[in-house]
């Protein structure tokens, strides 16, 4: 009965209710679209960055992160890889041997990061082969070949087919030196990586460093929207945490996490303002709906309706109006996000070039994460409940005789 009464009450002034519903609808639609695009851009940015660097998660020998030395490497373990790949959230593994060396070409030298990689895994997971702008990708996992970043090539004045000398320190203080043929030049998204990185097939790198079958890290790729922390916990439960440490990209690249957090705060403020505006609209409607029925409330209390039941009816009215706007907003938002995922907006002109220079696809990504839709709906419903507190409180303090005579 109370549900029916609340429903009938909100249609006493249908035009006013529709205006309020429309304001909730537009706010939810805007909030969903806005969150979807910002989350989509972040997710894509994270995916781009982590796939060329850390992976979403990384496994090291315990203590490696505090002292990043080849001496803290660990032996590649088939069983470990199999255990990790058994997790449905894990989409790929990238074994790496990461060291530092001095590179030299002609009369130029530069300190570089040498990444020993499995060419097949990297090709599959981050399409590293597509970043080759000159020359070719690795032909095998043991070729005496290297790929260098375009920035480094420029600084060393080296070209494809030139030979680079690398001198560094190997496993257990052995010396690591060799000559390597540059088979390709890469253009990577991160300018820092572009100017400092040399990729080398994993087996070649292990041989160079006297670290047969050893890795410094095993990078783990996840689905874009997988929950990082729960995935980390799941992985920790299947490995020997006395021997290995698992780190998230947030731990390894805190500056990127902080940038996203800071940038998100601005977005939260915009969405907050949006909700404050609709709150005023909804509050105004609730107040009008309450005060214009003051006399009726007095009568209802007189005939035996308890005040808390009246406050409950007002709460139901507020939730019904908001829920209608929310459902329409979620429906509209789903449609927009779906359309823009199917037919993404592509950048053109100089913006496109900037994106491509940074190694990102020149596309505006939208996130279809269900949490965005649920959170926006919950926020509006919580707001509606909070806003009905004041009229509810007024009803609880109502004196029937004053209300009847009002």
């Amino acid at each position: 009965m109370f549900l029916k009464l609340a429903w009938l009450n909100i249609w006493r002034n249908g035009r006013r209710t529709m205006i309020t519903v429309a304001s909730v609808f537009f706010a939810v639609l805007l909030a969903i679209t806005f969150r979807s695009v910002t989350d989509g851009v972040y997710e894509n940015m994270i995916h781009n960055v982590v796939s060329y660097s850390s992976g979403y998660l990384q496994i090291h020998k315990k203590g490696y992160w505090d002292e990043q030395s080849i001496d803290n490497s660990f032996e590649a373990d088939e069983e470990l890889s199999k255990n990790l790949l058994d997790n449905p959230k894990v989409t790929g593994l990238m074994p790496r041997l990461e060291t530092f060396a001095l590179s030299s070409f002609a009369d130029k030298t530069k300190g570089v990061m040498v990444l020993g990689i499995d060419p097949t895994s990297e090709k599959k997971v981050n399409q590293l082969n597509e970043k080759v702008v000159e020359g070719i990708y690795f032909e095998s996992n043991s070729a005496e070949q290297i790929l260098i970043g375009s920035g480094l090539a420029e600084q060393l004045n080296a070209k494809v087919n030139d030979t680079l000398v690398l001198i560094g320190q190997g496993y257990h203080a052995s010396s690591a030196a060799g000559k390597f043929n540059i088979v390709g030049i890469l253009k990577l998204g991160s300018p820092e990586l572009n100017s400092n990185v040399i990729y080398m097939p994993l087996k070649t790198s292990q041989y160079l460093h006297g670290a047969e079958n050893r890795l410094t890290s095993l990078s783990i790729m996840l689905g874009k929207t997988s929950d990082l922390e729960s995935s980390k916990e799941a992985i920790e439960s299947v490995i020997d945490t006395e021997a290995y440490e698992v780190m998230t990209w947030k731990q390894m690249m805190p500056e990127m996490d902080q940038f996203i957090e800071a940038d998100s705060s601005g977005h939260y403020i915009v969405i907050g303002i949006l909700y404050i505006i609709i709150s005023f609209g909804l509050f105004g409607t609730l107040l009008m709906m309450t005060f214009e029925r003051n006399r009726e409330f007095g009568i209802l209390i007189a005939i035996g309706m308890k005040k808390h039941l009246l406050a409950y009816v007002i709460l139901l009215e507020s939730i019904m109006i908001s829920l209608m706007g929310c459902l329409m907003g979620v429906l509209g938002g789903t449609l927009i996000v779906h359309l823009l995922t199917e037919y993404p907006v592509q950048f053109s002109g100089s913006l496109r070039e900037v994106y491509e220079d940074y190694g990102f696809e020149p596309i505006i990504y939208f996130s279809g994460n269900i949490r965005i839709f649920i959170y926006q709906t919950l926020i509006v419903l919580v707001l509606a409940s909070l806003l009905s507190l004041y009229p509810g409180f007024k009803v609880l303090r109502l004196r029937p005789v004053d209300a009847i005579n009002s």
Binding site: M1, R12, E296, I299, L300, A302, I303, G304, M305, R399
Partner: protein, 232 residues
């Protein structure tokens, strides 16, 4: 002598919200027995509605006590008082005051629902009541689709829904034409006679006064006269 249903002792009410305090009731004593049909008369501002509000527990006296069916309602906490009204007192107001979005069935059934009466029993009682006020055919009509007289009859049916011992009616015929007023009075008199429901109504309407068996006149917040008469 019948059972006392309303007993007011030294009831006074002073409104202090105004610049000059207004004494709406001054030491009113009132004693009404079960099954009486009483008219409360007097000029505007004499305290008729205030006294009805005190008896109905809608307002508290500044001093004095009110007993209804042996319960001192002036001492009841709010929720118990609302429950007491629901079970014992029916109200009929001057301007009908039905819930405009509900049908006759729902307006009457609403009170029964507050009493947690089952759906089946509710339906039965609603039909019974609408039959009593001769409005069976308007069961699914909303107040806006009814005439003033019909709305007031639905309001009476709503007041009767909870099987109250008392019905308090504040100027029930004030907004009705003479035919509707007469019709309503006949229904009220019949209910009083057949179901022994006590009626106390404030009125200016001579037709209503003539139907009453007891007429209490208030002047300046005091009982001026209390007369038993033979109704016409």
């Amino acid at each position: 002598m019948g059972k006392t249903i309303i007993d007011a002792h030294n009831v006074s009410k002073t409104y202090k919200e105004t610049a000059v305090p207004v004494r709406a009731l001054q030491d009113v004593h009132l004693h009404i027995e079960e099954g009486e049909f009483v008219a409360l008369v007097g000029p505007s501002g004499s305290g008729k509605s205030t006294l009805l509000n005190m008896i109905g527990g809608l307002d508290e006296p500044t001093s004095g006590t009110v007993y209804v069916d042996g319960v001192e309602i002036t001492k009841l906490p709010e929720n118990k008082l609302i429950d007491f009204r629901l079970q014992n007192i029916g109200f009929v107001f001057q301007s009908f005051n039905l819930i405009p979005v509900l049908t006759s069935r729902e307006n009457i059934g609403f009170v029964l629902q507050l009493q947690k009466v089952s759906k089946k029993d509710r339906e039965k009682r609603v039909l019974e009541l609408l039959r009593e006020v001769d409005l069976e055919e308007k069961i699914d009509s909303r107040p806006g689709e009814l005439s003033g007289g019909q709305q007031q009859r639905v309001a009476v049916a709503r007041a009767l829904a909870s099987k109250p011992k008392i019905i308090l009616a504040d100027e029930p015929t004030a907004n009705l034409d003479s035919k509707s007023a007469s019709n309503l009075l006949d229904i009220m008199a019949k209910l009083n006679k057949e179901e022994k429901i006590t009626f106390l109504f404030s009125t200016h309407d001579q037709r209503v006064i003539e139907k009453a068996r007891r007429v209490i006149t208030l002047v300046d917040g005091k009982v001026d006269s209390d007369v038993n008469q033979k109704p016409t």
